[in-house]
């Protein structure tokens, strides 16, 4: 009898469940558009707060300075990316493993997380891939991942940290790089005068810098140097309005072919990732070949070859003032 009653109740419950009005199924969430710009400007300020697993960041910081990542244990990331300077070294072309000269100028590690692509030729679509590739680049660090991993494994501290942070993977190319990236993602330089001005802080940006920014936009620099990093988010040809390589006075080397080395397409010859201009005053020398020593000169050359104009001196001064206002607070 009890069974029959239970079955009847169950049947009634099923019927109610089937016939119950469903009402409105909540609509799919609509992605909220990120705001792109402050004061309507095509540049966004750098994030003030970056989040991340502090332990992983600490591990990444240690790895960033770890010479065992290189083939002869002489170089670390920090060898070329001087964090006390502009996030790069002050050489035109850095020295890689075994004293080789790397054919390209070292870009800054600061704010690199805001770049759409990494490397001058933009061949890495993420910091992680960039890190993995750089360690084993024979010109740069000359490391071999299995060897590197073995070395790190011999260190009980690393073993403990990796076991705690990556219990499933342990030490491998991805986890080492991931930790380094976690650290690199904290390397942002907020609160530059320009950023403070963008956020609405009246008087944060000196008048000449404001004038420089205006000219920067009027002259067309802004077409490529825009976004949070004022660059780093597109690829452009060097020498659009002039023969840069012909007038450089040095023979064209493979590294000068830029994007062509990645795609092999003729139209990509001499195309490079547009470098970001944050902290540009601290990252001399300039250009992919490090051939330009001063910011003034770099501004002049850019105007000449990219815009086809010869900058008037006040303009150049104003623009440099503007560029200097992009120096942010260095990470501790």
């Amino acid at each position: 009898m009890a069974t029959v009653v239970a079955l009847l109740a169950l049947g009634a419950a099923i019927l109610v469940w089937i016939m119950w009005p469903l009402g409105q199924v909540s609509p799919a969430g609509v992605a909220v558009s990120p705001e792109y710009g402050s004061r309507g400007e095509p540049v966004r300020p750098v994030l003030r707060v970056v989040s991340g697993d502090q332990r992983k960041v600490a591990l990444g910081a240690r790895l960033f300075r770890e010479p065992r990542l290189s083939g002869d244990e002489t170089l670390s990331c920090a060898s070329c990316h001087d964090l006390r300077g502009g996030g790069a070294d002050s050489r035109a072309r850095s020295v890689g493993v075994g004293g080789q000269v790397i054919p390209l100028n070292t870009p800054t590690v600061f704010n690199s997380r805001f770049n759409h692509r990494q490397y001058w030729d933009a061949r890495a679509d993420s910091l992680l891939n960039q890190t993995i590739a750089t360690v084993i680049n024979p010109l740069v660090m000359g490391g071999v991942w299995p060897v590197v991993i073995e070395k790190l494994n011999s260190d009980p501290d690393y073993r403990r940290e990796f076991a705690a942070l990556y219990p499933n993977q342990g030490i491998d190319a991805t986890t080492v790089s991931d930790a380094i990236v976690a650290f690199e993602e904290t390397l942002v330089t907020p609160d530059s005068p320009f950023d403070r001005w963008l956020r609405g802080e009246v008087g944060a940006l000196p008048e000449d810098a404001q004038q420089g920014y205006r000219r920067f936009k009027e002259l067309g620099c802004i077409a490529c140097h825009q976004g949070v990093n004022l660059g780093g988010n597109m690829i452009a040809g060097l020498g659009l309005m002039g023969d840069y390589f012909g007038e450089r006075g040095r023979p064209v080397v493979e590294a000068d072919l830029g994007r062509f080395n990645v795609t092999g397409r003729n139209e990509d010859r001499h195309l490079f990732k547009v470098p970001g201009l944050r902290n540009v005053a601290r990252t001399a020398p300039y250009f992919h070949d490090g051939s330009v020593a001063t910011l003034e000169e770099a501004v002049d050359l850019m105007a000449r070859y990219q815009l086809g104009v010869k900058l008037a001196l006040p303009d150049r001064r104003a623009i440099v003032a503007f560029l200097e206002s992009l120096d942010g607070r260095l990470p501790e």
Partner: protein
């Protein structure tokens, strides 16, 4: 305890419904694929919403950048990455419906397009930057030049420069590039002309404008193409195809869900209805079942018979209170025991022959008596019925019903005892004795051995019975039985054949000496004093013995012959035993012949004659009467004594007819001799057997009437022992005879318990003094005892005024003695001294009125 065993149900309707539903669902799934879950569909909807949103944003950003509404490429990169992010990872895999080829194809085409767009994206950024920069330059440079021209050149030039600037702007932003291309070429050629015509500063400016214009001309078509490929309607088509394919899939899913929902609702209603009906039915069935169960329980609880039922395992699953009670168990102790364990045959340990048990094991019917094992181990006799019940699902139970038949068996035993044993002594009775004797004979034949049969008859039992009463007689018999039993071996059988007659069967007895010893022992044992409640009595016994095989081959023979031997022992003076002998056999044969002769004589009326012995007055010598005496001449011509043939007639039942014939003849003769001897009557002896016939008075009366004899002339003689019976029947007969007017005489007076009361009560007319007393008178007298007795009898008769007849007077000395003793009184004498018995002819022809004593005594 469960009344009914659990029945294995067949395939229920519920199971059928479930199976049908399952098959239907399986077919539906095979036809439609596994329906997507709500979460999957929601994920898909979200995916498409987000993807479309990202595509929209990408397109919006592309066009805003293209038209200079926006400069920042970060959102563009973000929008593109966002589109691509929808292709990455497991979210894609979770989308339902991708197994469908149409959908998968559309999806593949779309995502290939998305990947291809990355190159377009980079190209777009670069070209757009170039174009925007050049356009920007153009605007600022023309403004510069206007400022310059404003001071140097004409208004026409100014107009031209403004129109060039406007044309460039229109060209850059035109959707259809070809429409303005010609204008653009004209402008460029005008700029070229200006550059050549103007000197130094202005010329250079125009050259730079021309360079930028050419750059714009070069860039714009490609940028337009790239823009279209990045965010144009053609590109959007791929997404739309993908989205439409997916939406039709989701629509079909929704329709499927709709149908499923309807089907489930209908099905549920059906099921609910079915369940409700089933429940109602179940309820009804349950109620009826409960009633039936209660009824069955009530029935079995109040049934006197034990009822057991096995469950499906063959163990007892049900026992009613009567069963538990009869078997000595508590109500719940029987459950779980194997039924065959309780059953046994009639003590037969062989399982194969153990019918009830094997019937229970095999599950076949059985009806009959059986023994059940009770709790304390004593077997219980029952009338058992085993009824196997086969359920239609193959299950089998056995119902056992049994009735306690202890009472019946006890009754049977008692009946056996009654039928085969003597109630008084507890000894086997005649029937059982015959059984045993038969068995013994069979055994003796088989083993070529012999056996003996003794018939023991108490000598004075009748007297004891008469004197002390039946209770004492019974007590005597009990003691006799006890003594006999004590002296017999276990293999011997002692039985009471009836009355005071016992029989003893001795098996394996061949030595006559041993048998004699045993017989003598019995005789001795029974001659000892018996202490009865009424006092001590003495009795003895006579024993007749027959032996098998020499004295007879069957029970009847053996017993009959033992009887013969017994009579011989009685005749031999009692208190002894006799073996049956060939002589006895011969005597038996003689008796047999005699009986046949008598029957023949009665039929043919030949050979039987009546003789009359005169009775004479001692004083006068006058004939005063005649005593009728039967004579029989056998077939061989020899005369046979009445003492021999009368017992034969008595035994064979001929006595009635025979006596009637004699009496009739006597009466006729008496009538006949009235001419010569007027007033002289005739005396007739009534035997005890005759007297016991209630028809006697009628018979006498009829004969008197037929013959015309006056009743007072008929004198009926009866023996004294007859009177001892004191029975009503004897009294009535005597009274009837007296009433007829006959004279009564006591025959053989003095030999029995001479009863004076009788003489007084029945007004006896005549006393006949037995001849044994007469023998003691006269010459052969040993002492004076008989003389004194005769004197006393005469004195008593005189005082009672009775006539006296002295029988058997054969010598003159006896007559003399009698004359002396009867002085003064009349005495009648009878005997050979005066006349032998005479035929009627001699009486009628010249018998003198007076008879003197004959000189010589001669016996016929």
């Amino acid at each position: 305890m469960t009344i009914l065993p659990a029945q294995r149900s067949g395939i229920s309707y519920t199971v059928v419904v479930i199976v049908v539903l399952a098959i239907t669902a399986l077919v539906a799934v095979l036809l439609n694929g596994i329906p997507s879950s709500r979460a999957q569909r929601r994920a898909a909807i979200i995916h498409f919403d987000e993807l479309r949103s990202a595509e929209d944003r990408l397109a919006e950003i592309v066009f805003r950048l293209r038209h200079g509404d926006m400069v920042n490429y970060d959102p563009l990169n973000h929008a593109y990455d966002s589109v691509r992010a929808h292709h990455r990872g497991d979210r894609h895999d979770r989308l339902p419906g991708l197994h469908m080829e149409s959908l998968a194809g559309a999806e593949r085409i779309y995502w290939n397009n998305v990947v291809e767009r990355e190159a377009q994206l980079e190209r777009f950024k670069y070209l757009n930057a170039v174009l925007r920069t050049s356009l920007n330059y153009f605007r600022s440079e023309t403004r510069e030049q206007l400022h310059h021209i404003g001071t140097a050149t004409t208004g026409a030039d100014r107009e031209a420069l403004i129109s060039v600037s406007d044309a460039i702007w229109r060209y850059v932003h035109a959707d259809d590039a070809t429409a303005t291309k010609d204008d653009m070429e004209a402008i460029l050629s005008r700029l070229s002309a200006w550059a050549k015509s103007q000197s130094d500063g202005s010329g250079k400016a125009y050259s730079r404008l021309l360079a930028h214009g050419e750059l714009i001309m070069r860039t714009k078509p490609e940028l337009d193409e790239v823009t279209a490929r990045l965010a144009g309607a053609a590109t959007r088509y791929f997404f739309d195809q993908y989205y439409l394919a997916y939406r039709s899939f989701l629509d079909s899913e929704a329709e499927y869900a709709e149908r499923t929902r309807l089907a489930l609702a209908v099905l549920t209603v059906f099921l609910l209805t079915g369940f409700a009906l089933l429940a109602a039915r179940q309820l009804r069935i349950g109620r009826r079942l409960e009633q039936q169960t209660t009824f069955v329980k009530w029935l079995t609880d109040h049934l006197g018979a034990g009822v057991l039922a096995t469950d499906a395992t063959g163990n007892i699953g049900f026992a009613n209170p009567a069963a538990a009670h009869l078997l000595g168990f508590e109500d719940d102790q029987l459950a779980g025991r194997p039924l065959p364990e309780l059953l046994s045959g009639r003590g037969d340990e062989n399982a194969l022959l153990d019918t009830p048990r094997s019937a229970a094991v095999q599950g076949i019917e059985y009806t009959g008596e059986a023994w059940l094992h009770t709790h304390d181990g004593t077997p219980l006799p029952v009338e058992l019925t085993l009824a196997p019940l086969h359920y239609n699902d193959g299950g089998r139970v056995t119902v056992a019903v049994f009735i306690d038949i202890r009472g019946r068996i006890e009754t049977q035993r008692q009946l056996m005892t009654l039928a085969y044993y003597d109630g008084l002594t507890g000894l086997p009775n005649r029937t059982l004795f015959f059984d045993r004797l038969n068995g013994a004979i069979n055994r003796a034949v088989r083993h070529a051995s012999s056996l003996a049969v003794m018939i023991v008859d108490l000598d004075n039992f009748k007297q004891v019975n008469d004197s002390y009463g039946h209770v004492s007689g019974d007590q005597l018999l009990t003691i006799v039985a006890q003594r006999l039993r004590e002296r017999m071996r276990g293999s011997d059988t002692v039985c009471r054949l009836g009355g005071d007659e016992f029989a003893i069967l001795l098996e394996d007895a061949s030595n006559p000496v041993d048998i004699s010893n045993i017989a003598q022992e019995v005789v001795d044992a029974l001659s000892n004093t018996f202490a009865l409640a009424e006092g001590e009595v003495h009795t003895g016994c006579s024993i007749g013995i027959t032996l098998f095989p020499q004295d007879g081959t069957g029970c009847e023979d053996l017993l009959k012959n033992a009887d013969v031997a017994l009579y011989r022992a009685k005749d031999a003076g009692r208190g002894n035993y006799q073996f049956f002998t060939a002589d006895m056999a011969r005597a038996v044969v003689d008796n047999h012949d005699m009986e046949r002769g008598l029957r023949l004589a009665l039929e043919t009326n030949e050979g039987i004659a009546v003789y009359f012995q005169p009775k004479i007055s001692l004083e006068s010598g006058l004939v005063t009467g005649f005593e009728a005496l039967a004579r029989w001449r056998a077939g061989d011509g020899s005369m046979v004594s009445p003492t021999r043939f009368i017992p034969v007639t008595e035994k064979s039942g001929l006595i009635g007819e025979f006596a009637e014939r004699i009496l009739d003849e006597a009466c006729r003769s008496c009538v006949a001799w009235q001419g010569r001897f007027p007033g002289v009557g005739v005396a007739f002896n009534l035997s005890a057997v005759q007297f016991s016939d209630v028809r006697l008075p009628k018979s006498v009366e009829r004969i008197l009437a037929n013959t015309g004899l006056a009743p007072e002339l008929l004198e009926l003689e009866i023996t004294e022992s007859l009177l001892l019976k004191h029975s009503d029947q004897v009294n009535q007969t005597l009274h009837a005879l007296r009433h007829l007017g006959c004279t009564l005489a006591i025959d053989d007076f003095g030999t029995g318990y001479s009863s004076l009361i009788f003489l007084k009560r029945f007004a006896v007319n005549v006393l006949k003094i037995d001849k044994s007393f007469v023998e003691g008178l006269g010459a052969k007298a040993l002492d004076g005892t008989d003389r004194a007795l005769v004197a006393a009898m005469l004195a008593m008769a005189r005082s009672l005024n009775l006539d006296v007849v002295a029988e058997g007077v054969e010598e003159a000395s006896q007559a003399t003695a009698l004359r002396e003793l009867s002085r003064g009184t009349s005495l009648t004498v009878q005997g050979y001294l005066y006349s032998p018995p005479l035929p009627i002819e001699k009486i009628l022809d010249g018998l003198p009125e007076r008879l003197a004593p004959l000189p010589v005594v001669s016996f016929p």
